[in-house]
C-alpha cells in the first residue's frame, strides 16, 4: 500500500466546492432538434395510404376514419392512429411516409394514470406538440427507403420516330420492370381511382416476384384488353399514386403492358384457363367493337353467353384502332387482345352499321339483350367564322382515315385547335406525315387551356415538342382568316381562365392580347359528340335522357329500355379504361337482368 494511493483519492473532495452539474429544471428540458418524440401528422397532406402501418413492426398504427375527412380519389379518408402502448419511436413510419406528412416532434413526456389513453390520431386529436417545429423529419439528402425516381422508359429517339408510325415506346425489360415494380408501396389507393378497379398492387407484386402468369390472371379479372390498356390507358391511377406525392408515381401502365407483353397469344387460354366454357344458350348483341363492347363481350362470353358484335367498320377495335395513331398503339397489339376475345366464341359482324344495315328493333327481337357501346365519333366544331372551310378538318375523321390507309390532305402549315390527347395524336400524326412528305414539320397545336391545365398527358406534350411540333396553349380561337378561298391562318386571343369559380366551363379572354397562327390547314379537336341515331324513336321513348341529352343509365348501365344496356364513351369517358369498366359492369348487369327475368 503506497502512501500516494492513500492520499490521492482525497482529491475527489475538490468537487465539493464546484457547482453541481444537475439540470436545474428537468421538467421543461427539451429534446434535441432531431429528437424522435411524439407523432405529428399534417392531415391535409396525408392521404391515408397506410404505408406507415405496413412498415410498423410493432403493429402500433391503425388506419381509422376521421370525421371531416372524406374518402375521395387519392385519399382513403383514413388517418393513422398510433398506439403508444406499442410504438418504439423508430420513426420508420416518418421515413417511409409517402407524402412526408408524418413527422415526430421533440416532445417526449406523456404521463397518465389510465393506460387506455395512450392512443391518438396525430393531427386530429389536439396535442401540445402539434405546432412544434423541431423533431425528427425524414433525413436528407439521398435518403429514401424506396426509390423515388421512376425507371425511365426506353423510347425511340425523336429523330428515329418522327417520320414513321413505328411504336415509339419500347417497353420495360424484365430487370427494369422488376425495378419499377419494386417501388410500389402496395397501398392500394389507386384501385378506387381506376375506373375498372383493377387489382393494381397485386399485379405489380406479380411483376416484382416474376410471376407473370399470376399477374396476367389478375389483369384479366378486371380488364380484357391489357395490351391496349398497357399502352394508351389514361392511367388515372398514376395521378393518385401515393409514391407520386414526393417522387415519380409508379409506371403502372407500363407494368401492365410489361405483363401482357410477356405472354404469347397462344398461351392466353392456357394461363387464363378459359377453355371449354359452357354455353348457356342465351344470345347477346353488342353494338360496336370498342373497348366497352369488347369488354362486355369478353365477360359475357366467360359467363357462357353467345355474343355477337356488330361493327360498322371492317376491323374491330373502334376508337382504339381508328382514333389512336399506330405509333402509340400498334395494330398487332390490338389484334392480340381482340383475337383472344374472339377465341372465346365471340362473333363479329363487320361492316354492319346498326340503324342502317340492321335495326335495333331487330336486335331486340333476335337477342336476349343488347349492349350498345358506340362511342363518340362525331367531331365537334368550334363554329368560329371560317370553320366551315373545306380545309378545316375534324381530328377524329383524319385519324380514322390515316388508320384506314387513306391518303389525307397534309398541308405545309397546320394548326390544330385543342389541348386533349386527341389533339396531340393528330398533331403528332400530322407532324410525321409532314416529315414524310416535306421533310420538315410545321404544325402548331393551340388550346384554350394554359399548359398547366391542359387535359393532354404531360408526356404527350413533351413528346410532341420533341417531334418538333409547336404546342402553344392558352389561346382562344376567334376566327379563321381565309383569303382567296385559301386558309391563311387562325386568329386567337389570350384565354385568362377556362373554368369559373364553380368549376363550370366558362372561358374568359383578354381581348388585348391576340396572336395569329399562319396555316393553310386547320384541324379541330375540341371534343367529340355521340351519334345515337340508330336508337329509334319508340325505343328512345322508353329511355331517359338528362337535360344535356345524355342517356341516363343505372348502376349496371341498363337504360330505361330494360333490354338495352349502354356504356362506354357515350356514358362515361372518353377513355378506354372507362369503356372497359362499363363493359364489365354491363356484362354483370346483363347477367343479372337475364337471370332475374328467367
Amino acid at each position: 500500500m503506497k502512501l500516494k494511493d492513500i492520499l490521492s483519492p482525497f482529491t475527489a473532495w475538490k468537487h465539493v466546492v464546484r457547482e453541481p452539474v444537475t439540470i436545474k429544471d428537468p421538467f421543461s428540458r427539451e429534446g434535441a432538434d432531431r429528437y424522435r418524440g411524439f407523432h405529428k401528422n399534417d392531415i391535409e397532406t396525408c392521404i391515408g395510404c397506410g404505408t406507415c402501418e405496413d412498415i410498423c413492426q410493432n403493429a402500433a398504427i391503425d388506419m381509422v376514419p376521421v370525421e371531416g375527412i372524406e374518402t375521395k380519389d387519392g385519399d382513403s379518408g383514413l388517418r393513422p392512429q398510433i398506439d403508444y402502448g406499442r410504438c418504439c419511436w423508430c420513426a420508420l413510419c416518418v421515413d417511409v411516409c409517402t407524402t412526408n406528412s408524418l413527422s415526430l416532434s421533440n416532445h417526449f413526456t406523456w404521463v397518465d394514470e389510465d393506460a387506455d389513453v395512450f392512443r391518438f390520431i396525430p393531427g386530429v386529436d389536439k396535442k401540445d406538440w402539434d405546432n412544434e417545429e423541431r423533431g425528427w423529419k425524414k433525413p436528407e439528402p439521398n435518403y429514401e427507403l424506396y426509390e423515388k425516381e421512376r425507371v425511365p422508359m426506353r423510347e425511340l429517339h425523336p429523330e428515329e420516330r418522327d417520320k414513321s408510325f413505328i411504336e415509339m415506346v419500347k417497353g420495360y425489360s424484365k430487370e427494369e420492370a422488376e425495378r419499377e415494380a419494386d417501388r410500389c408501396v402496395e397501398c392500394g389507393i389507386c384501385i378506387a381511382t381506376c375506373p375498372a378497379h383493377m387489382g393494381i398492387p397485386e399485379y405489380i407484386k406479380a411483376v416484382r416476384e416474376d410471376n407473370i402468369e399470376e399477374g396476367f390472371k389478375k389483369l384479366y379479372e378486371t380488364n380484357p384488353l391489357p395490351e391496349i390498356c398497357g399502352r394508351i390507358c389514361t392511367h388515372k391511377c398514376e395521378t393518385v399514386c401515393s409514391v407520386g406525392h414526393t417522387g415519380d408515381p409508379l409506371s403502372i401502365r407500363w407494368l401492365k403492358r410489361y405483363i401482357a407483353d410477356q405472354v404469347e397469344s397462344e398461351d392466353y387460354k392456357n394461363i387464363l384457363g378459359t377453355d371449354g366454357i359452357e354455353n348457356n344458350g342465351k344470345k347477346i348483341a353488342i353494338i360496336g367493337s370498342g373497348p366497352s363492347g369488347l369488354s362486355a363481350a369478353h365477360y359475357l362470353a366467360l359467363m357462357g353467353y353467345q355474343v355477337k358484335i356488330f361493327e360498322a367498320f371492317d376491323k374491330a377495335g373502334g376508337m382504339m384502332r381508328y382514333g389512336i395513331p399506330e405509333y402509340r398503339l400498334p395494330y398487332d397489339q390490338i389484334d392480340k387482345d381482340i383475337n383472344y376475345i374472339l377465341s372465346l366464341g365471340v362473333e363479329i359482324q363487320y361492316n354492319t352499321k346498326v340503324g342502317k344495315d340492321v335495326s335495333l328493333a331487330d336486335l331486340e327481337k333476335e337477342y336476349d339483350a343488347v349492349f350498345a357501346g358506340t362511342g363518340l365519333h362525331l367531331g365537334r366544331s368550334t363554329r368560329i367564322p371560317g370553320s366551315d372551310h373545306e380545309n378545316v378538318y375534324f381530328a377524329t375523321d383524319l385519324l380514322r382515315e390515316i388508320t384506314q390507309g387513306k391518303e389525307i390532305h397534309v398541308a405545309e402549315k397546320i394548326v390544330v385547335i385543342g389541348g386533349g390527347n386527341v389533339a396531340m395524336d393528330i398533331t403528332r400524326s400530322l407532324a410525321r406525315l409532314q416529315n414524310q412528305k416535306y421533310g420538315k414539320v410545321d404544325v402548331t397545336a393551340t388550346s384554350l387551356e394554359s399548359e398547366d391545365i391542359m387535359p393532354a398527358d404531360r408526356e404527350e406534350i413533351v413528346e410532341s415538342r420533341e417531334e418538333k411540333a409547336i404546342v402553344d396553349p392558352g389561346w382562344g380561337p376567334t376566327s379563321i382568316e381565309i383569303e382567296n378561298n385559301k386558309i391563311k391562318g387562325l386568329h386567337v386571343q389570350k384565354c385568362t381562365s377556362v373554368f369559373d369559380e364553380e368549376g363550370r366551363f366558362n372561358p374568359k379572354f383578354d381581348e388585348s392580347q391576340t396572336k395569329f397562327f399562319e396555316a393553310d390547314m386547320i384541324v379541330e379537336s375540341i371534343g367529340q359528340g355521340m351519334d345515337i341515331e340508330y336508337i329509334s324513336k319508340d325505343i328512345r321513348e322508353q329511355m331517359e335522357f338528362d337535360p344535356r341529352g345524355r342517356i341516363i343509365v343505372d348502376d349496371y348501365f341498363q337504360s330505361g329500355a330494360k333490354w338495352l344496356f349502354v356504356g362506354g364513351d357515350i356514358i362515361q369517358g372518353p377513355d378506354v379504361i372507362h369503356g372497359i369498366a362499363n363493359g364489365h359492369r354491363a356484362a354483370i348487369g346483363i347477367d343479372k337482368y337475364l337471370n332475374e327475368k328467367a
Binding site: P9, W13, R18, P20
Partner: protein, 303 residues
Amino acid sequence: MEFSIKNIGYALLTIFIVLNYGLILQGIIRKIGARVGRRYGIRWYQPYIDIIKNYAKRSTITHGVMFYIAPVFRLSGGIGLLLFMPVIFGSEIFSNFSFAGDLVLVLYFQFFGILGMALGAAESGHPYSAIGVSRGLSQVTSFELPLTLGVIAIAMQYQTLNITEIVAAQQGGFLNWTVITNPFAAAAMLIAFLGAMGRSPFDVVLAPQEIPIGPPTEFHSGLLGVLQLNRAIFPVAKLILFMNLLFGGATNWFELIVKTFFIYMWSVFVGVVYPRFRVDQSVRWFLTVPLIIGIIAIILIRF
C-alpha cells in the same frame, strides 16, 4: 448523583435535541456527500419525512418476537450511550446520568445495539441479514480493540473512568485536549471511529452491492422507523463520546455542534472517496495499524 423525576425530563429533552440534530446532521452530511458527486442531493429535512413515512405505513409483518425487540435493543443502545455521558459539560440539565464508571458502561453500549440487531436479524430469516450480522459482529469486535486500548490509555492518562472528569481535565484551551496531549491514543480511537461509524471503507455491514442491506434487510414500516431514529441518535451519541474523550467536550450547544460536525466529517472525508474493504481485510486492518498505535499509546502512558 441523585436520581429524580426531573432527570427524566432532562434526559427526554436531551434525546429530543439530539434526535433533531441527528436528523438534520444526517441530511446535511448526505448533501455534502452528494456535492462531491456534483449533485444537490436530498433536501435537508428529508430524513424527517422518511421517518414519518415509515411510521405511516399501514401494514407490518412479523417474523417473531425477537424481530420486534431488535429495533428496541438497537435504539436503547443508542439512547443508553447518549444518556450515560455528559452532553454539555458543566450543564446540570445535559449532564444526564454520567457517573463515576460511565466510561465502561458507554463502551458496553457501543456493542449493545449490534447484539440486539443480531438477534432480530437472525429472526428475520433473511440470509443477508445473517451475513450482515456476522460481518458486523466481527468488525465491531475488531475495532473495539484499538478503541478500548485508546480509552484505556485515556483513562490511565487522566486516572479516572468518569467522562465528566475526563472532560473537566481537558478544559482550558485546545492544547489541553486529549488529541494533543495523547496523540497516539487519539489516533487509535479516531481510526476505530471510522469503523464505528460504519462508513466506507468499513461499511461491510450494510454493503449494498454485496448483501443489500445487511441486518435491516427485513425491517420495514414502524420497525424501520425505530431503526431510523436510532440512526439519528446513535452517531451523535458516538460523536459526543469522541468529543468528550478527545476534543475537550462542549460547554454549550454551539460548541457541541461545531465539534461533532467536524468529527463526523472525518469519517465522511474518508468514507466518500474509498471503496469498501472486505470483512477479512477490514478486520485485518483494525488488528494491525490502529492496534499497534493503541499499544504504543498504552506503553507511552505507562512509562
